[in-house]
Amino acid sequence: MAEEEKNMITVYIMGKAHEVPAGLTIMKAMEYAGYQFIRGSGCRAGFCGACATVYRLAGEYKLRTALACQTAAEDGMFLTQLPFVPANRPEYHVDEIEPGPGTLAEYFPEITRCVSCNTCTKSCPQELDVMDYIQMSIRGDYESVSKLSFDCIQCGLCVARCPAEISHYHVAQLARRLYGKYFSPVPQHLLNRLEEIEAGKFDEAISELKGLGAEELEKRYVAREIEKIERGEVMDE
């Protein structure tokens, strides 16, 4: 602990100064400073978007955005969390939608207000091309929206910063669902297997396995053949 005390930094949590050890994430720095989260902490691994944070560094004009669990605290950081962002979200039922070029703009007319300022892209902690996918949404290009937005963790920082008041991540969610449902068919091998299961093809064999004692079951387990990775094979996407 002695070394840790030598290496302390000051962070300003909602304006209040706290001494914390260097090298912690913003989230852990806040906990070290005595906060117990109710809001603002979810998966703690960069997948859930619960810990959206805005901050400024000492002497900088720039307002930065980050995930508290994925960003190291720095000396002189002024920060606050943004644990919830109000975002417009219409109700829809994907079964009833016939996706066309204008569908996304129909459900989210505000996307046409985009002024291409790129603030959403700059605020994205996942470094996604948010503005580009909003432009693709206006054109109804579901595939591009899906690809560009796929890693979105729905933290809402883009929504908080957008001067055109767009709810980017909700637009992308609808686009991805429509693409998945209508433009990416269910593989035939899955349908074949479903038919076989429904016809009871595996029932007898599984019943037999269920009736086996541990010893016989272990024999079958050990005897099964293992499929191997072929070295040097170039896999598809």
């Binding site: 602990m1 090298g23 852990k28 906990e31 070290y32 005595g34 117990q36 989260f37 109710i38 902490s41 979810g42 998966c43 703690r44 691994a45 960069g46 859930c48 994925q70 960003t71 979200r89 109700e91 829809y92 994907v94 996942q126 470094e127 796929f150 890693d151 963790i153 729905q154 969610q173 609808l174 991805r176 669902r177 693409y179 998945g180 449902k181 990416s184 068919p185 269910v186 593989p187 035939q188 091998h189 899955l190 074949n192 479903l194 299961i197 595996f202 599984i206 396995l209 269920k210 079951l217 272990e218 387990y221 050990v222 099964r224 499929e227 990775i229 070295r231 896999m235 598809d236 996407e237």
Partner: protein, 551 residues
Amino acid sequence: MKLIGGYTEEMRESIEKVEKTRDKRMKMEFEAMSMAERDEVLNKYHPDYKPELKRAVAIGPNKGDIAPNEVVDLLEAHPLITEKDIDLSKIDYDVDLLIIGGGGGGTVAALWANDNGIPAENILMVTKLRHGDANSMMAQGGIQAADREEDSPILHYLDVIGGGHFANKPDLVEALVKDAPFILKWHEELGVQYDKNPDGTYVERPGGGTSRFRLHSSKDYTGMEIMRVIRDEFRNREIPVLEFTPAIELLKDDEGNVAGAVLYNMETEQYFVVRAKATVLATGGFGRLHIQQFPTTNHYGATADGLVMAYRAGAKLRDLDTVQYHPTGAAYPEQIVGLLITEKVRGMGAQPVNKNGELFVFPMEPRDVEAASFIRECYGRGNGVVTPTGMHGIWLDSPMIEEINGEGAIHEGLDAMYRMYKRFGIDMTKDPILVYPTLHYQNGGVEIDANAQTSIPGLFAGGEVEGGVHGKNRLMGNSLLDYNVFGRRAGLSAAKWAQKRSKPGKLTLRHVSSYEKQLMDAGIKTDRRSPMLLPDYRGKKVLARMLDDVL
């Protein structure tokens, strides 16, 4: 401390050795272990095989059964409320179906109950954090389903039961493997995007302990992709949800059926009473108990609340004596210690190698065997790489992935991993990454039957909270599958149960008082209280746990 590409000079020296052996290793196959070799490494090195860190539960339906001390501590603890604290004649929410837990299992249960006759307004979901804050959101690698011609549910069954040390409940394994292809089709209809080949077939990869390539993924955001789609569907149906308001105790009616729960709003500190004809428990697992001081891959709320509530109400638990340590948690840099490095990294070809650049284990053993081998390599053979904070770790040779699958394969298939390391200055396409086992999954839980019915009438369970599906060790890709299969079955069974019944009679917390009496009779004197709800990391408790104490 001087860092080169994110690593210290000492670590760089070891990386050079890894690079030197790479070409030779690329062509190497390391033999999988025999059952006897598996037993040997498990007995000596797996954290579960340390009897001194477990004890028998002193009271309740599983009296005499062994579980980790951290779990027994929560079971042998006083409730947060007593019978006198809550006025049960004042009902705040009166519904057909109460769903406790806002992760994958609860969401799937709600959708299927709604599809089968329970109107949205007669369902209530309650959750401790936000809807979707759950391990379901964090699963990276994928979901198993035996849908290729060269695969079958029979092989899936053998893999699951062998990986689980033949201790699984056969009816549950059968349900898991036979429902799997149906679940994928349901996902497709909702608009979930799985990785597909140009010919429209699924991209499928191997997982530890699977005899066929059977793992379906959505890059390395599989859990997130499924969770955000089912949550979106849930929202469109306007099913009511209370966030930051966990259940803290189950309620029963005068016939002994589970009939709702007492809720606690963590923000306003108010209690609420829910009366429900049927209750689904989907509270997830126990990673945040930090069993044996291990760091964890789990989300902030994984504190075993459901186990505690169900046990006090008299439900039987099972298989809680084993804990899943994922072989590959991040061991460096310090900021991400314990976070999940998906098994897909090995599935795409990265080998685990020691500080000398040697491959020392078949990369695709079941998780408990692989984890125990890593611990042996570090502490038994002294071949671990030591980090600046004194942690030991094993290299995952990630640059192999692009050599095997072609340039861009990491961006295409492992973007979450790439992004996480890049945030801390490491490029995993060029350098290997350092890993060590991390606390990952609650193998056991509340016992259910194939209809997801627990041992108490009116209470159903789906997802990590229940036990029996995975026996003593879960295989990769079966947790996303588990919460879908048994979340669905819980929703269907609960809907059927609710439709047959009139409103529950007088509500009671008598079981909580009786549990208190059992504690007293067993001579347990403690100031522990449970459920835990949230871990406390304030002050120095937040600093990384010392893994050196483990052995």
